[in-house]
């Protein structure tokens, strides 16, 4: 089975984008979810979202119709990289996806 792919979408602020992606990668690994976390800057491409199982957007780049997978708005991470409600939404989604399709 292929790895569960999480894509963090950001803009000009590449530092923030990579920081968020690295931070999530670490948290997900620690929590026992073997995900592949990638980052994607819409400055490079805003027409084609990368194929993913879950898209996390720092800015409103794509719709679920375009990504073909759930999208979570992670804008609060621009201010607080551990924003509790946003973090909870991500983990709830991943937990549910792993329970239905992916094995931990």
């Amino acid at each position: 089975m292929s790895k569960y792919r999480v894509c963090v979408i950001g803009g000009w602020c590449g530092n923030r984008l990579i920081m968020v992606a690295d931070h999530l990668d670490e948290l997900l690994q620690k929590a026992g979810y073997p995900c592949q976390v990638k980052s994607h800057s819409v400055w490079e491409n805003y027409n084609q979202p990368p194929a993913s199982n879950l898209v996390l957007q720092l800015l409103p780049a794509f719709t679920e119709a375009e990504t073909g997978c759930p999208i979570i708005n992670i804008r609060p991470f621009l201010v607080d990289i551990d924003h509790p409600e946003t973090m909870e939404k991500i983990f709830t989604q991943i937990k549910s996806d792993f329970a239905s399709t992916f094995q931990q």
Partner: protein
Amino acid sequence: MEKPIYLDYCATTPVHPEVRAAILKTLETDFGNPSSMHSIGKAAANGIADAREQVALGLSCSPSEVIFTSGATESDNLALAGILHLSKPGKAHLITTSIEHHAVLHTAKKLQSEGYEITFLPVDRQGMIDPVDVQNAIRPNTVLISVMMVNNEVGTIQPISEIGKIAKENGILFHSDAVQAIGLLDVNVNELHVDLLSLSGHKIYGPKGIGALFVREGVRLAPLTFGGVQENALRPGTENVPGIAGMGAAIRLTNQHKKDENIHLTRLRGIIISGLQERVPGLIVNGAAIAAPHILSVSLPNADSEMMLIRLNGAGIAVSIGSACTSKSIEPSHVLTAMNLPTSQIEGTLRISLGYPTTEEEIATVLELLPKIWSKAKIN
């Protein structure tokens, strides 16, 4: 892609062909060192004198009161530090505002760290300074007031003449950063009662790396750099002859065309405002009702400005936004923050700035595309 639509003239402007020609002349023919005692050097010196005269003409001052610098940032540094450094730390007070360009704000903060007293005045929701606040901030040791003439983010035109009068009545020197004003507004240093005034070349179709500082006769400044007598020993070193020639040509064009340009851009600005207000319900125009004709700050409701910028850029339209990426987070503009605008409003703010090449057709394209782009850049 079709020809890009450039609407970021506050950031910088393209070099005008006549400016380019003036610069090329100094690179190819009049390339001498202006301090040299021969004809080729003299030709370069004459070029500098001509440029100085053009700047003086634009400011209604004497050519001897114009110092060429590397740009407005250096001019602002020289004006602020040059005055305060004549006094010991703790003995001098500067009044400035919270919406100045970083060239002033960061210099003021540096001076504060050296022990000088600084007051950063607040602005109202329109980004306006109240002259009464200036009056009330004056202390016995106030040596300088610095207020920008036109704000570069929202276009508010400050009551410079009124503040200048207050400064004069209190025997305090007055500096204004007029970078965004000189191209389109009357900047008469006597009517404005300013003692120091900063200009930039590249905001008025001149080259980058050149600026000027008006220093009223009799005003003494401590230099920032040392090593020669050029520019009254305030800016020593061999002059940037190509830059100065370019700035001279740019100011000459400005002196000739600013009235017509003001009318042209005021009209285009009005078209954008009414067009966007029709197409984007809830749109807010930031700043005062009477603003510089080339600057328009608009907040589109519930939108992410960066996403709009990216999509506009993809469509070949260049504008700017009110936030900046720092090492730790996305910081909202200090100007919009000082105006006490809510975060949600700042997040959806675009700055559209116009120039003499801007056409009605370009504006029509923006009015067609921006509402569509806005609908794709909504936060929720």
